[in-house]
Amino acid sequence: MSGEERGLAEPRAAAYRVLASALLPPTPERLATLVAAAPELVALLEPLRGLAFHPALRALLERLAGLSAEEAEEHRRTYATLFVSGRRSSPPPYESAHLGPDTDVAMAAAAVDAAYRSAGLVLDAEGEAPDHVAVELDFLSALCAREAEAPAPAEAERLRRLQRAFLLAHPLRWLPRFAEAVAAQAPGTLLAQTVEVAVRYVEHDAALLDSLPAAAG
């Protein structure tokens, strides 16, 4: 595995990790960590500069880096109102809630969990449900990280295929609708911006994965 190959997978993993962290429940500690790390993350994601989603991701990180205590509180309130309060109109941050009225919620979540298991990953029992937006993004981050460490190009290629299949089967099926719902309910908020950036990123990453084999050389 060359440095070049690793070079692309590592910042992609970091981008997924950042977005996953930003979409987990924003406890004061988690948010403080994210805010403190934001300037460093901007530098970490610099290799992705030039790709179309980068300005949006950078803008998000810059907003995070400059987040005041009041804004952080507002963000926590928005998150709780939308995702924790259980309002009928709220868009739940779970894939199973966005696949249509005939969806069996448990089966949908189990299908995501099965994808994790088939990649050799098991969810922490204490954590979020497998189809939570942050968990799906974190899974992609893990796959990218593995790709970065893959001992051989064939293994890296297999992991990219896995990423692409997961993107198509899960986040791309529901995140755009979820983002629209969040934007409609909480327009202009940090939460809406984060979800929008996540959608842009996963859509772009799927396109990038489509293009990469041609460049694998």
């Binding site: 070079g7 300005p55 772009h204 990038l208 460049a215 694998a216």
Partner: protein, 512 residues
Amino acid sequence: MDGREVLVACCDRAHVGDAEAARAIAELLAGALEGLRVELVADLCADPAGAEPNGAGGLVLGLCGPGPSSADLQALARRHDLDPFAVEAVDLGLLARLGPPSSVPERAAAALASTAGALLAGGPTPPGRMRLRLGGGEVSRRGLLAGAAVTYRPVARIEQQVCLGSERCGLCVAACPVGAITRSHPFPSVDTDACVGCAACVSACPVDAVGVGGAASEQLEARMDAVWAWPWRERPGLLFACRGAARAVGLEAGPGEGASDDAGPVQAGPGWVSVLVPCLAAVTEGWLLQAVAAGAPAVAVLGCGERCGAGSLPRTAERLAYAAAVLGPERVRSARADAPEPLAPLAAPIPPAGPARGIPPLVHEPQATGAALEALAPPELDLQGGPLGVPSVRTDGCTLCGTCTTVCPTDALRMEGEGEAPALTLDAARCVACGHCAEICPERVVTVLRRTGPETLAGRRVLKRAEVGRCRRCGAPVAPEPMLARIRELLPEESPALLEVLTGLCLDCRGR
């Protein structure tokens, strides 16, 4: 640009010979649009790639010639972490050749405002509206990481939440000149490998469900609106210029320095102002008519001719012929980049402008053509061909079942007054002659002619109205009387009792 600024960086020579004229452009532009900032840059044409957006979210380069290629413009965008389609160049040298020197600053300022308006109207390009492309030949990941090899090609994307679906509409399928959109179900799908980003689908979609990177409907509208709304001293002709064709003509003409010494083909009259479009395939009859309805003395197109990647030439010729039939041939011109003298058709004298009718620019058909015809109100309108149609319904055979209205993509046919006196109504200005109504009519009483006639401007009118048959138990509507009569006619052998149930009772009362 999400409320951010767009910077117009204009070469201080601006192809008008001196800094004073360039300053005039900057002064005219200042305050033209909210969010627009103007800077004159010393000899920008010598190094356009060195332009700095200075914090703006979009950048328009006003250059003396065609300037950098689209790949180089994207590289500039990338360098400044801008959206891939957030940097555009306007060839002021070409504009200088399209009219007398005295009007160059005003026409140049309006053309720059048109491009800046498009950038201001568009937010970040959604990933689905562009296709990532790694540069040709051998490309290493290092190259990708350096950003040098990545470009984005604009492609169409259909928003399924808005799209009427393949069954009811499919107008984008018919409009796509390269067969990249197919009638899959329930929604049309785009083959992004085949899509050339011409935006023909954008103007054909009646409900704004299709967008192309850098050419969303609001961006196309903004391009036109900036020119429509410009406070002209003397309104010039409006030239819809394919970006590729304009570049080809500009390159042919050379770097464009010293315009005042190098007179172009158009040296008299009000001249022309250009509105850049992705391809002439997007420019509909309605766009052409609207330009004149909005006050332009003439309208023209500049395309790639035979070299057009979307093969727009035949369709554009039809559209120009339609516009010429409505406006008069003296007000409609066609220029081609592949002609020996591309701009010669623009040199003929332009007739005086008619009144500006204050209509907003509309991108989508049939609204664009319908609104323009209404504003222009041409006398004795009777044209075959064109974008509009006239459904003809044989009223004695129509049962008012309303099936035709369920497949009409533009709401030209509509049922009204249901429950009382149901009526089938038609607004011919909204009919695009897709023929769906004729195909689905169970009585085969609908025919559609591709035609613009007096009906087009007649507004919505009733084609057939009838009484509604009511339930003899509860009085609720059962169906229009003609439909009940047709049921009796189709079931002559049926028992009178069953017929009485079918035609005399509503659904609720039938089961009791």
